[in-house]
Every structure is written in C-alpha cells, then in structure tokens.
C-alpha cells in the first residue's frame, strides 16, 4: 500500500482517513516486532563488547603497568599508597582486608549452603543442665538465603571496587607521566562537598533504598522459588528448600488446588480482572469528576473559590484510615446510611452493602463510589493548577470561531489535560492496582468468595491482588511463597501495562507540541 502524499491524505473523508491509519498500523506490527528483537540483539552485542573491552583493558593495564600497578592487582590500594595518595590507598586496603576476612569467617559458609538452603533441621537434644529435652536449632534456611544473597552482593561490590582500583592505577600512571600532580587526600575531601557532592547526597538515601527495599524485594523474588511458609519457616519447624517453578505452576494451573473447588489460576484470573476494572474506574472516575469540579470552581463568575477548595482539601488532611474505617461502618447493616434510607422510606429492609455474597457487584460499585469521595479533592487540586496554565487566547479564538462550551472542552481543555497528566494517569492507574488501604479498610475484601476461598485462602469479591497477598501472608498458613508469586505476577502485569501505555502516550510522541 503506497504512502499517500499530504494533500492526497487530506482529501480523504473521515472514514477513509481512519481506515488508512488502521491499515498502516497493522502493516507496521511485523516491523515493530522485528525491530524489538533486533534491539535486544543489539543490546546483547553491546553488552558483550563492553565486557570484552573491560577485560582487555584490565589485561592491558597489567601488562603495561609499572611494578606498583602490578602489585595493586593483589594488594588493593598499594599503588595509591606508593604514589602518595595515603587516604585512598588506606581505604582500598581496608576494604580488601574486611572483604577477605568476611569471606573466610562466614561468607564462604553462606555461599556453600545456598544451593541446599540448609540440610539439618531442628532437633531435640537432651541437655543435662536443664534435665529436659531442648530444641537445638541447626541450619537456618532463612538466614542462609538472606546472608547468602548478601554475600553475593558483597562479592559483586568487591569486584567493582577492585576494578576501580585497577583503573585508578592506570590513570595515575598517565597523570604522572604527563607531569601533573595526583589528587591529594585534601582534594578528595573537598570534592566530597563539591564535584562529587551528588554522591555524598545520594549515599544515605540510596543505602536506605537498597537495604530496605531492593534487597527485600530480591529476597522475596527468590522466596517465590522456595516453599517458605508457616510450616517451613526455616528454623523452628523445618527448613525450606528450592522448589523451582513449582509454585508458578500451581498458581497458573487450571486444575483444582489442594482440596478446593476452584483452581488457583481461576482465582487469580478473577482477582486480576477485578483489580484491573477497579484500577480503571478508580482512576478515571476520579480524574474526570475531579477535573469537572476544578473547572466548575475555576469558572469566571463563581464566588468563594477559595472556600470551596478549602472544604474539599480538608478531606485530604484527615488520615485516610479514619475516613475509610468510619465510612465502611456507615454502610454497615445497622449503620447510618441504612438508617437514613429507612427513615426516608426509600427502602424497607437494610441493604447489606458489603456482606451479600449473592450481589458482589453491589459491594464493588459502592467501593468505587466511596473511592470517588476520597480521590476528588486531590485530583481537583492537580487539575486546577494545570487548568490555570492553558493560554486564555486559545479559548477566545475558539469562541470567535463559534465553538460552544462543550466543544471548547473537547478540543482544547481535554487534549491539553491529557497531555500534561498522561504520565500521572499511568502511575495513578498502577498505584490504584496496588491501592491496599482503600479496599482493605473499607471491606477487607468482603463479601467472601466461597468458591475461590477454599483453595487459596480467604478471598473476597472486592479483594485486589494485593489484599489477597496480605491475607495469604497473615493467614493461618502464612504461605509466603504464594504471596511472593502473586507479588511477582503483579509486577509483571504492572510493568507490561506501563511499557505499552508509555509508548503509546501522546505525551511522548508529541512532546514539543505544547511548548
């Protein structure tokens, strides 16, 4: 199909234009897929060449370096010390000593136990001192996994530092050869607050993130491949071991789970579907209604603008758990809402909003509506800021051209808003997928989905993947490994959606349109 010239394209009718665009899109798919694989291949090649370059650089440094450099390969920091950079040399040396000491004392042990995650479980032993049987804790799978991973990290850190040490030797030789001086300890200290200040500033936050988020996540990913749960918690009961992809098979299998009537996969599918529906409605109802309220308050001729905004903003101030818990009780069978409805004579019997398993959609819709109450003030704030930035003469021009209020909204306000808030909408969507508080505090997942609950622990009709995860973790069996599997799958879904949407977003394609 030939590509039309600009003028020819413009001549087509609306339907023809659409058809043209669609067919070009589909024709482009094979090319896109091919391009994707090519990119991966290119990436691999680049990675390979980079590694190759590093290795040859290291070898070259050894061969061409002087004796100080060669020694530094074995005694880190020697080169620095020998060339007068005492501070750096000492730091490198210290690191090497600590590392070697660690590896000898415990690192080696953890690494060796990693493949098996411990062999000897707790045992009963007779203690003469106490004249009774005492439980002796032997191997601890949890610790093995944890410290084993830490050891691997440590090793990687060591290799990196060693590489830096080698590189510095090479650079030092070059600098001295050209007659310049090396950086002294004082220079280094000064650069901590100057050109290397970013590293100083990032040190603490990044350490926190890596230790408290990245490592735990990595750990939990690994747990998904074990059978760590309440009965196999690694030391008091029995050890846990690697089970490979078993857990994933269980989760994604369509056959029944242990003794239940519904398979894991079916439950997962149900919960996933509701999670997506919920995220969609939660995000977009709040977005458009919040925008509508913002536009209403912002309109010329409306008084007490600040007052309206303050009232709405107050709801953000109140801690969410109070609002949510209280509102959830308001909708209880003997709660205020039912009381009010009955007083008005609109209903004769109390509506069980959150407990009626035969009308799951009642609970679901109620939850979405309550979420609107929570979310609008925040969205109103955001959209107000953006609305004020749209150039006024766009609207004036449209007015003169004859556009009605609705047309102005569709052709000017909406495109502009969607452009600016595109990325925000995406993060809002994924955030809502993981919006634990709203669902848990309002309904704790109720009403309970009996069919699904048997296999996979208690699951309700308003449960999101993440609340289900929480229940599994704190439930009777504490099936941590299942929780990890769900966590990983959630990540996959979120990552996929983000990738696709991010590439489709007009914000990215037409970024400069609005400058």
């Amino acid at each position: 199909m030939t590509q039309l010239s600009d003028l020819e394209f413009l001549k087509l009718s609306k339907g023809q234009k659409f058809g043209y665009k669609v067919s070009r899109f589909f024709l482009g798919i094979p090319k896109a897929i091919l391009g994707f694989f090519l990119k991966i291949w290119e990436g691999l090649k680049k990675g390979g060449t980079a590694v190759g370059r590093e290795v040859s650089d290291i070898v070259g440094t050894f061969i061409h370096g002087d004796w100080k450099t060669k020694l530094s390969f074995f005694i880190m920091g020697f080169g620095c010390l020998a060339r007068g950079q005492i501070l750096r040399g000492l730091l490198f040396l210290l690191f090497e000593i600590v590392f070697i000491g660690f590896m000898i004392l415990s690192g080696g042990y953890w690494l060796s136990m990693l493949p098996s995650l411990g062999k000897v479980g707790p045992s009963e032993e007779y203690s003469e001192v106490l004249d009774a049987y005492v439980t002796k804790y032997n191997d601890n799978s949890f610790q093995i996994l944890l410290y084993g991973v830490l050891t691997i990290f440590f090793i990687i850190a060591f290799i990196y530092t060693w590489r830096v040490n080698v590189k510095q030797n090479k650079m030092a030789e070059k600098i001295l050869a050209s007659g310049k001086k090396l950086k002294s300890g004082k220079d280094d200290l000064r650069s901590v607050v100057d050109d290397q200040f970013h590293k100083t500033l990032l040190a603490l936050p990044m350490t926190g993130i890596i230790v408290f988020t990245a490592l735990p996540i990595l750990f939990m990913i690994l747990v998904a491949f074990t059978n760590y749960d309440g009965t196999h918690n690694g030391y008091t009961n029995s050890l846990f071991t690697w089970v490979g992809l078993d857990n994933f098979n269980t989760m994604l299998s369509w056959s029944g789970g242990a003794g239940g009537t519904q398979s894991y996969a079916a439950t997962f599918g149900e919960v996933l579907l509701w999670t997506l529906i919920w995220a969609f409605f939660a995000t977009f109802t709040n977005y458009f209604l919040g925008m509508f309220v913002a536009m209403a308050i912002n309109k010329k001729g409306i008084r007490f603008k600040k007052g309206w905004r303050t009232i709405l903003v107050l709801t953000i101030a109140i801690p969410q758990f109070i609002s949510l818990l209280y509102v959830s009780k308001m909708f209880a069978k003997n709660g205020i809402v039912n009381g009010f409805l009955m007083d008005m004579g609109w209903i004769t019997q109390a509506i069980d909003f959150f407990g009626d398993a035969s009308r799951p959609w009642l609970a679901r819709v109620t939850v979405i509506l309550i979420n609107i109450w929570i979310g609008i003030p925040y969205l109103m704030l955001i959209t107000t800021g953006i609305l004020m930035n749209i150039p006024a003469d766009l609207y004036e021009s449209a007015k003169i051209d004859g556009a009605s209020g609705w047309q102005q909204y569709r052709k000017i306000t909406l495109p502009y808003m969607l452009f600016v808030t595109g990325p925000y909408l995406l993060t809002s969507f994924t955030g809502n997928m993981n919006n634990f508080n709203v669902i848990y505090l309002l309904t704790a997942g109720a009403p309970t989905n009996a069919a699904a609950s048997s296999a996979a622990g208690s699951v309700g009709y308003t449960d999101l993947l993440i609340t289900w995860l929480f229940k599994i973790t704190t439930g009777a069996e504490s099936q941590y490994y299942m929780a990890s599997v769900i966590g990983i799958l959630v990540f996959v879904v979120v990552a996929l959606i983000s990738l696709i949407v991010y590439n489709l977003l007009p914000s990215i394609k037409n970024e400069e349109d609005f400058r």
Partner: protein
Amino acid sequence: MSEATAKRHMGLKTSRAITNTAIHVLLIVISIIWLIPFVCIVLQSFRMESTGQVGYVVPKVWGTGNYVKLFETDFPRWYTNTFIAALATAVLQTIIVLCMSYTLSRFRFKMRQPLMRFMLILGMFPGMLTMIILYRVLKDLGLTQTNAVPGLILVYVASSGMGYYVSKGFFDTIPMSLDEAARVDGATRAKILYKIILPLSKPIVIYTVLTAFMGPWGDYVFARYIAFGTSAGKNVAVGLYDWLNKDQISSYYTMFCAGGVLVALPVTILFLFLQKYYVEGVTGGAVKG
C-alpha cells in the same frame, strides 16, 4: 428588532447567570456531601446513651464520657507512639527526600537515568512484599513489639528516597543560571544547596515535611505487622481498627469516634495553616515531575 434577533441577544449575559447559579448550587451540594462523614464522627463521639453502632447520627444524650474513657485504655500510648513516629519521620524523611530530589534535579551524572529507571521498576513491586523480611530483620534487632516505634521510623524513613517526584519537579523550576552564577563566584556545590537553593524552596520543604508528618498517622499495614502481639506497640491506626472488629465494636464504637476526632485534630489544624504550601506542592510539582 425581530423575535429571532431578540432571542440571539439573550445570549451573553443571561445564559451566563443561569449557568453560574446552577454551579453554585452544585458546589453547595458537593460541600455538604463531602463534610457529612466528619460531621457524623464528631457528633457520634459525644453520644452517651449507647456505645455501639446505631443507625442515627445526632446523640440523644450528650457528654464527653467517651473522651474520658479513652484515657483508660492504651490509646494514649498509641497516640504517643504515632506522634513520636510522625515527628521523627517528618524530620528525617524530609532530609532524605530533599537530598534525593535535589541531586536528581541538579546534577547530570552517568548513572542518573538508570537510577531513576531502577527506582521506577522497584516501585512496581507491591510494597507489602518487603514486609515479611523487614519484620524478621527488625525482630532480630529487637525493634519490634514494645520497641516498635524506632522500628517503624526506620522503615518509613529508609526507603523514602523513592518518593522524590514532586520535590524534583519543584527543583526543576529553579533556573540553573542561579547555580552557575554561584559557581562562578566560587561556591562549592554544598554551599549552593544551603545558601541559595534551600532558601528559595520554602514551599516544597514545608510540603515535604507536612506529607511526611501525615504518613505515620495513617499507616495500618506495617504498624500491624510490627506491633504483632502486644498492645503497647501499636499505633493509632491499628489500635482503632481493632476496636471496630466484630467482638469489640459494640462497646468501642463511640470511643472510636472520639479517638478518631483526636487523631484528626492535630493533622487537620496543621494542614489548615500550611494549606497554601501543600496546594503549591501538588499543583506545581506533582505533575511536572
């Protein structure tokens, strides 16, 4: 003038007046709906005739008994726990977030993009996953149950660097030419931060402190996990939540309302005073970042 033209001439002014009145009515309705739950909570906290959940709002017998009873429970302990946690978090988290967002905004270094992408991906994992292992680690360090507060603070603060978006968006709006002028004058990067950028950043600093302070008051998940077992280690969220479960609600409902009011009070008052900064933070940085 013909009738048709007369109709056209009604256009501008009257149609605008009608629309505006309609909107005012709508806004009044919205305000009422939004404030209802809070009005209800406050009213019910003064109810003396029963302590369970009922279907009406206005108390028949008024009194402050519920508030008094609060002090006979562990509520004061929970309150102090949460308050200390909030205070510490407000300070520490602000420092960490500002360090992170300032760096990402001002400096261009090789690992910048990979770093931001890395944190983006980390954020895609449900935060709850980390709970289990963090609990174990904290337990081994003795920072759980009765000593839950330091443990909570540590967890809240440690990974707070990931929440840099809004602050970074704000810093992006400060022109780089200020930094450059200072460098020409001979200032180190650290000095630029203290003497130039921070004084200009009052709104975003206040915003960050405010949101950091508000966080611990509403955390249910993590606080529950860490305080596991003991009552003294709970924070207000966990404590009040338990009062509303099936066994306790009949005696504790009104106390929940009273407790809720006390919890909401400091945060709301703080918020009202600092509202301007919060709004500026949200509208300015939230979407640009």
